[in-house]
């Protein structure tokens, strides 16, 4: 028992890791942060695998854990930034990432909750019920997020003329 992950966990990882990282990257705008959150969620799942493996759909648990990690980290990031800027007497300079014209432009202006819903629904192709489970909110909340995001995206795609 050297902590070797169970074969079922390996299956779940192979199936879910990459897609979840991609979706959360879109949601939070930072690939590294998304990778960390998903990795942490799987490490957590591994630690409690006895319990989680008995769930009907362990993928739901992992998604939920990763999204929680991500939102905790975003809050933490804000605090760290303020701390660092005080410590160094500098204002943090926010540099736009290199992927201009990409997904960031399209989703600019959407609140984080809407981005998460959009990423899981459109990119991960999850049904509304599973998006709701992953976000820990009701289905009608997800539908509201998606409806608002849809209006925004329809306009954004129209404006970009594509």
């Amino acid at each position: 028992m050297a902590g070797r992950p169970a074969p079922e966990l390996e299956g779940l990882f192979t199936q879910a890791y990459a897609g979840l990282v991609r979706a959360l990257t879109v949601a939070c705008g930072d690939r590294e942060m998304a990778e960390d959150a998903v990795m942490d969620a799987f490490v957590q799942a591994h630690r409690h695998w006895d319990r989680i493996s008995s769930y009907e759909n362990p993928a739901v648990w992992v998604r939920r854990a990763a999204i929680n990690r991500l939102s905790n980290r975003r809050r933490g990031l804000g605090r760290r930034l303020r701390f660092l800027s005080r410590a160094s007497g500098q204002r943090p300079e926010v540099v736009p990432g290199p992927s201009g014209g990409g997904v960031a432009t399209l989703l600019a202006g959407l609140p984080v909750q809407q981005r998460v819903a959009v990423a899981l629904f459109y990119l991960e192709d999850l049904p509304v019920a599973e998006v709701a489970a992953a976000m820990g909110v009701s289905e009608s909340t997800v539908k509201t997020h998606l409806r608002r995001a849809r209006e925004h995206l329809a306009a954004a795609l129209e404006v970009s003329g594509q």
Binding site: E32, V94, G97
Partner: protein
């Protein structure tokens, strides 16, 4: 046209746009190895009790010291993802030297889905006919872009073509196909890809996908920066719909795709849910549809 149709189309459009812009999925193998290493460490750390907390404190102190000592440098936070450089692929140098030779060469690993029958056309500026019977012009590839306004068309060797999958509207499988610019410079795509279904022996099954012309999403020139992707959505009637139309449904070995303006096809074999799109009508009774390549 019903409201539902409109919503469906918008949803497909949004999905396609996001897929094209979202960047590639990270490779799983390396992540799995990192995960196994971390899973082991996390067990070890728990055994070591509170040591982790002490280590965290120490790390915090070091970080603070570094900040204090770093002087006037500014703190930079990059807010959006770095381009995925995880795929190790030989990229042509884009230095200021002489431009690379004009012949189109297939970069090893650049188009992972290229079938063995792919031949690369090196004839400059020839007009040939693609699977769709559409006239296509092969323009000599120029890999480096001068800063001028017109972006050269994407040469086949510089595109990685890959299938995505999504559930699509009722009765259809939607198969967004990504055309990713793997070259060092911007290039452009315009028009419709040629899409057909082929058996293991390479014989075409049924008819190629029909080009769908709609006023809301007309073909446009799509400029792709390095690493960016355009997307065209293929919609395939599902097996139930094929049978309703009186088809004999055949499971194709692959979907053959010509990028717009290209005469060298790649063979795509979607896996997972996308593999449903391989089941195709053996006659012209229920053809698939394909839209123009759009910017993500």
């Amino acid at each position: 046209m019903s409201e539902n149709d409109h919503d469906d189309r918008l949803d497909r459009r949004i999905r396609a746009a996001l897929l094209a812009r979202a960047g590639e999925r990270p490779p799983v193998d390396a992540a799995w190895r990192r995960f196994v290493a971390r899973a082991r460490r996390s067990r070890a750390r728990r055994r070591a009790g509170g040591l982790g907390f002490v280590a965290a404190l120490a790390a915090g102190a070091v970080a603070f010291a570094l900040v204090q000592g770093s002087g006037p440098s500014t703190i930079k936070i990059v807010t959006s993802p770095a381009p995925s450089t995880s795929t190790s692929r030989p990229t042509p140098s884009s230095g200021s030297g002489p431009p690379p030779p004009v012949t189109v060469t297939t970069v090893p690993g650049a188009s992972t889905t290229t079938g063995p029958d792919t031949t690369t056309t090196t004839t400059p500026a020839t007009t040939t006919t693609t699977a769709l019977g559409v006239s296509a012009t092969t323009v000599p590839a120029t890999a480096t872009t001068t800063q001028g306004v017109p972006v050269p068309p994407c040469p086949a060797s510089q595109l990685r073509i890959s299938p995505e999958f999504s559930q699509g509207a009722t009765g259809n499988w939607a198969l967004p196909i990504l055309f990713r610019n793997t070259g060092p410079a911007a290039c452009s795509l315009y028009g419709y890809p040629g899409v057909s279904w082929v058996s293991a022996s390479g014989a075409q099954i049924g008819v190629p996908a029909r080009q769908v012309h709609t006023a809301s999403y007309p073909p446009r020139t799509v400029d792709l920066g390095p690493g960016q992707a355009g997307v065209a959505v293929v919609e395939v009637p599902d097996q139930a719909n094929q049978q309703l139309a009186g088809c004999r449904s055949v499971r194709a070995a692959a979907i053959r795709v010509y990028a717009p303006g290209s005469t060298s096809p790649v063979q795509l074999t979607p896996t997972g849910p996308g593999s449903n799109a391989l089941v195709y009508c053996s006659t012209a009774a229920a053809p698939a549809d394909v839209g123009p390549v759009a910017q993500g």
